[in-house]
Symmetry: C2
């Protein structure tokens, strides 16, 4: 592939721009055809860039942004008053085709609002979704969406989410005919609310989607499905509760293990194992959550992301560009909508 | 307290009646004023009873039920065609005041439908809820509801759930002015769907409830709240996903630990710790989930409950009888509704 350009919001996140600049450098070193447009305050960026090799310097463009979206800022406020922020600039660059995709670890709500406003959804898609990989038994993975982009999902939106998840599993995870399931309170057809039952009917009628039916909460970490679809309210609460639960498990193991020397050894060894699950459980800290269904590529890294995590998010964005995910989603949704006529 | 009578469905659950009969015997031995009405096939019950002491025999009544609700049976089918089942009989006994409460480990959906149909809700309560205790950091516990009794919850139902949860925390867990929270996708007031925002307003306006605001998924296992309220769709999926996640963590720890002798020791010690969390995480296996908001006391034990778990569920029912939970809920809901006028 010829030159691939990503725009990065260097001001997003809790850990300061140096984390993101360090990830940017690694990405440039590992991916020869990558070019980056860094969005943020010029002083910080030029100081950093001056210390890099001329090869790296030739692959970086700096875009000075006087504004910054804070982590606690209301999305509506950011949308209205932060047109010169690093987050907004990066989205504008994607919208103007100056960048092929973008990555931010900033305020999720503001990013969702701005991306939806600037990039708009693809034809056939009503609402974007936030999607990520969740680890499953036997080193498997499942695409889980929506993580909170859209808390009120009607049956059409759930259907579109299933289509988009299926495209990601095919294109990024390289799974042929990925098994797609709807998350529900039971596996029988009569279970669930009206929107989920209607979405199931739409999916059953589609020849283009390998729909396997309803799965329950305890099936998420099994290998039953490659893609699990739920509304953004349930998805967000489930995802965050897993983070809380693994933290709780780590604390419990520590507490119980303080009693004798053998237990202390156990803690020393078991805790990192659980921490590892915790990191994998917390998908946007692991490899970034993608905002899909838009006319451009947007990857969200965790606000508290390390340099390694942000690098994973950059790689995720590169994959989306190389596999032309928005085009693939557009084609797939057109194909499934054609079936209905 | 004088005689306390519970009706038990001995045919519910996956493990056969002997598990339940064994729990019944322990309960009778531990609680002198307890009397049990066992509902099930007479042959099984009388064979078991003939082997007991005369003291135990004097405290047990057998109610012969020719029918049985199977675990896979559709609730509507059970409601219509299983009027002589052990599950239905136990509810009829509560409704006729022959029993003070009842316990089943049978088909949850059928139990919910039958209990709602037979016992009806208390005045001021639109829908019953399934509630249980979830463990939190530092050996704490939180009442979590609804676990799936009602998948479509409007703001009034969420408000009533908050009131009912508050009563349980006060009466059963003995917490003064329990902190009540609504589960949401963010802690700011602007977050969430219409029903949750309106429920928050109703709770804020109530002097009788110590409402502390929204909590997020990752706050469930912290000690922020004593009662966490959500709709039955989200609650059911969250609860089951925790079960799946802890199972997954156990498998991961086992897999990683197979590499050397030290790791094998770790597995030997860490696995029971995680299993213990798993059992506590799976509340109806731990101490039964209560179906509250009805005119009678119904406790649901897990289908796969051990004898110990079923005994915990019996003890839960005894507590509800002794604390007169339905009356307390009725009084509290009347008090909060009076405030509005």
């Amino acid at each position: 592939m010829s030159r691939l350009t990503l725009a990065l919001d260097i001001m997003g996140g809790d850990n300061g721009p140096h984390i993101i600049l360090s990830a940017a450098l690694s990405a440039l070193q590992q991916t020869p055809h990558l070019h980056l447009i860094l969005c943020g305050p010029l002083t910080i960026m030029s100081q950093w860039l001056s210390k890099q090799t001329s090869n790296i310097q030739s692959k970086v463009t700096l875009s000075d942004c006087p504004q910054n979206v804070s982590m606690a800022e209301a999305p509506a406020h950011a949308l209205r008053h932060k047109k010169n922020s690093s987050m907004r600039r990066m989205l504008d660059l994607v919208n103007n085709n100056q960048a092929d995709g973008c990555v931010s670890s900033g305020n999720t709500g503001a990013l969702l609002s701005m991306a939806y406003h600037v990039l708009k959804t693809l034809p056939g898609i009503d609402r974007p979704a936030l999607i990520s990989l969740v680890p499953t038994m036997n080193n498997g993975k499942v695409y889980f969406l929506d993580l909170g982009a859209n808390i009120n999902c009607d049956s059409e939106v759930l259907f579109q989410y299933a289509v988009m998840g299926s495209v990601l599993a095919e294109q990024i995870a390289n799974i042929k005919q990925p098994k797609v399931a709807l998350l529900n309170v039971g596996s029988e057809e009569i279970k669930g609310n009206d929107q989920i039952k209607l979405a199931a009917k739409l999916l059953m009628d589609s020849q283009n989607i390998n729909y396997i039916g309803f799965v329950e909460g305890n099936d998420i970490f099994s290998e039953k499905a490659d893609v699990i679809v739920t509304d953004g309210f349930t998805g967000n609460i489930a995802l965050k509760s897993w983070e809380g639960l693994v933290k709780f498990a780590i604390t419990e193991v520590k507490n119980v293990s303080q009693h004798n020397w053998l237990s202390k050894i156990v803690t020393k060894i078991a805790t990192p194992l659980l921490r590892n699950i915790y990191l994998r459980m917390n998908p946007d800290q692991y490899n970034g959550a993608s905002l899909i269904g838009l006319r451009g590529i947007v990857v969200k890294s965790h606000g508290n992301a390390s340099s390694e995590a942000f690098l994973c998010a950059i790689k995720e964005a590169i994959q989306h560009v190389e596999m032309q995910v928005p085009d693939k989603i557009k084609n797939k949704i057109q194909a499934v909508l054609m079936e209905r006529h």
